[in-house]
Symmetry: C2
Subunit: 142 residues, 2 copies
DNA sequence: GAATATAGTTAGCTATGCTAACTAATTTAC
DNA sequence: GTAAATTAGTTAGCATAGCTAACTATATTC
């Protein structure tokens, strides 16, 4: 197996297992990962329509419809009508939603960071560089 | 934000977005990601009991019980009794299961690899080293 | 004004995760 | 040598999250 295939394979496996670990932290916020991820788009990207949110999360509209319903039920987002087009929804994170997102993010990152502390400074630096490469790649994904 | 926190945050985000993309490839095999991941443990790690599989996949026994049922229904694994302890199941990948795993793995990896091809050889090598560090960290997770 | 296109929802399916409560088998304790 | 405790897995029941197909309501186009 050539180098590209080998890296691809192990990268996939590492990503799966990393997220399984982290998911347990997310659950402590009382909201699932799909909701937290959608909420994060709203908090950092501002108000969105349902279709925009679905596209940002790479999910179909009925799926996002349910995610948004859940967030609204927990008062983490607020839904208003678009004054220019009554078909559209304007979805905004509430202050409560923003607070919860930040809290969850802190918990998750603190947990991850506590594990990363085991690495040597050199390994951490290597990992940091690699994540940078990967993030850029994901931004320009084909 | 210090270096550890920053790496933790970006690593998490990259893992989420990477898997969202790859999930679509997995679906083409006709089996979900949890089943493929469990099957992979059997193919590369040999026969396992249900409890061992659950532990390897960081999932509770009832969850793994259903995953294994699904795999058995599709004839991707075979379940026999442990001759030494009738409470235990011995779960083995069938030849069909092994073939499907390799096929799915090829599709997924080919897709990932086609994206990784955009990296320079140097970047790829850095990413490979980092994945190695990460895999080891995940094995000895606290 | 009628046909078409677009935004979201609803209904209904599958898959994955959990806990609680169960059965069956083995081990331990007496 | 049997009763109690432990261990392996299953079943039932709940929630989240993904999908497609079919629907409603609004806008746009012809």
């Amino acid at each position: 197996m050539n180098a590209v295939l080998s890296v691809a394979d192990r990268l996939h496996s590492a990503a799966i297992h990393l997220l399984r670990r982290v998911r347990k932290q997310d659950i402590a916020t009382g909201e699932g990962p799909a909701r937290l991820s959608a909420l994060s788009v709203l908090v950092f990207g501002g108000p969105k329509t349902l279709k925009e949110l679905a596209a940002a999360e790479q999910v179909k509209p009925p799926t996002m419809s349910r995610i948004v319903s859940g967030l609204a039920r927990s008062r983490l987002v607020e839904i208003t009508e678009d004054p220019e087009d009554a078909r559209r929804l304007r979805i905004v994170a509430t202050p409560k939603g923003t607070r919860l997102l930040h809290k969850g993010r802190e918990m998750r990152i603190a947990y991850l960071a506590s594990q990363l502390e085991r690495l040597t400074p050199d390994e951490l630096s290597q990992l940091g560089d690699a994540v940078e490469i990967l993030s850029k790649l994901l931004q320009h994904w084909g």
